[in-house]
Amino acid sequence: MNESINLKPGQINGETGIWEMVIGLEIHAQILSKSKLFSGASASFGAEANSNVSLVDAAMPGMLPVINEFCVEQAVKTGLALNAKINNVSIFDRKNYFYADLPQGYQISQFTKPIVGEGEIIIDLDDGLQTTIGIERLHLEQDAGKSLHDQHPSKSYIDLNRTGVALMEIVSKPDIRSPQEAGAYVKKIRSILRYVGACDGNMEEGSLRADCNVSVRKSGEEFGTRCEIKNLNSVRFIIQAIQSEAERQVEILEDGGKINQETRLFDTSTGETRSMRSKEDAHDYRYFPDPDLLPLEFSDSWVQKIRETLPELPDLLKKRLVTDFSITPYDASILVEEKDYVDFYEKAANGKDGKLTANWMITELFGALKKENISLSNSPISPENLGQLIALISDGTISGKIAKDVFAEMMISKKSPSDIVKEKGLEQVSDDTEILKLIDKVISENEDKVKDYLCGKDKLFGFFVGQVMKLSQGKANPGIVNKLLKEKLK
């Protein structure tokens, strides 16, 4: 075994050599509709138990499902944003299983003919690289109800409010090769869904959750047997769960064992996956076309109408920011993560130095907001005020160093930077005669050091700059100080 091997993300150095991970993701995204996929009950979150339930959702005999047009539009819109094939004819199937929170005894889903077929997206990795991940399909399906197991020692409590709420299941191809790529993939899907407006992407409330299929193999070999980790609701957990599951599989295989294809749960307290106590028939869903629902059909012109409502999507927006504002692709990829980042940036950078604005927004503003745990929409610094600060730096009114103090004051007082600069008298001193006065004072107070400098101790130059700046209380223009000092000390 070679201890000094440099492992790439997603590689595991085992006893028998290097293993690589093969990962595919199924993302469940709740559609932002007012009512459910097949009934007129409300799809809102947090209502009284069983108040958002119609007789259709409760699966009373004789009730018939009628599909929600908005949900179909959102699925098509998302499919277009995923560069995917839209299927003008798709079929709803029944996926049969028994569970207390599934009153129908089946979930209406799409099995053989989903509404959206193959597509692909580009994901951005931390090192600035990009890679393409294939989309296998997107289909519409019903969510299940909610079971509470902690209300009673021997009973479960069932709330059907979520039963029948519309979900899109987005299935990736097994193209993902590391936990980091999986994280970037989820972030990108979440971002696209939020741009499109199909889903709020709120992972804490469960409106976006992922199942991860993980297997391991030696490079160039066939795919290994996979395990599915269910219901992960944060990017951090997705990354942890995949890493620990892949390590578990390598250990079993290297001990001469076999992987059982099974469903596993991620235990957030131990950081490990464990087998779900599932029955042997769990995966025998006996799908068949739902006789209550006709095939879903729509025309190319209807799809075209939806295409015209698509907003500017993150990848194109990123390219535009790089061109329009001369910022780096990396900065642009951070700014396009959320639509409101871009909106803020475009307002702030309007007519300003785009690169400087991006630096200040990403490093200073995001840093300060994160520290205070404030979202950008509640930022004490408005885009206009950030832009004004950039303008004050660019035209030399204040130095970058003073700007940081002004920024800190803006975070607290919400005042505009020009007001703060005026009130505190922080204008940068760029006037030659003013600065020369300061230089003369520093030279006369440090005659011995001046001698040393003139005899060749070049390093002392920085000391003189520092002294002049200190004397000016940081307000002297450092560029001019440098220039004038050099002339003076010839």
């Binding site: 108040s51 929600n68 509470l148 479960s156 069932i158 106590r277 028939d281 006709l294």
Partner: protein, 100 residues
């Protein structure tokens, strides 16, 4: 009767019954097995029809799926929804503990 081989046997009937949560008396199983084989045999006759030029069909009516607009038109009928529940409490259905 079908001239095809029987494809359903008693273990298959047991499996389908388990998946469907049906309790089938031991004495009925052989009859049920025969019935299922007869039905499948009857349907299998369709295989004799040449369908190479026929598209798969999910509905025979030729109607399109009707769509409804996204409006809240239903709900707030907890009492009705819970009316047939053997047990309920503070708006919830109450069932024997089910936990993975």
């Amino acid at each position: 009767m079908s001239n095809k081989e029987s494809i359903v046997d008693i273990p298959t009937v047991n499996k389908i019954a388990r998946l469907s949560r049906l309790n089938i008396p031991e004495a009925s199983k052989q009859n049920l097995t025969n019935d299922l084989n007869n039905i499948l045999g009857f349907v299998a006759q369709l295989e004799e029809v040449n369908t190479s030029d026929v598209k798969p069909l999910a509905s025979v009516t030729g109607h399109k799926l009707p769509l409804r607009s996204d409006k809240v038109t239903d709900g707030n009928i907890e009492d009705l929804v819970l009316k047939n529940a053997p047990e309920s409490s503070s708006g919830f259905f109450v069932v024997p503990k089910v936990i993975e």
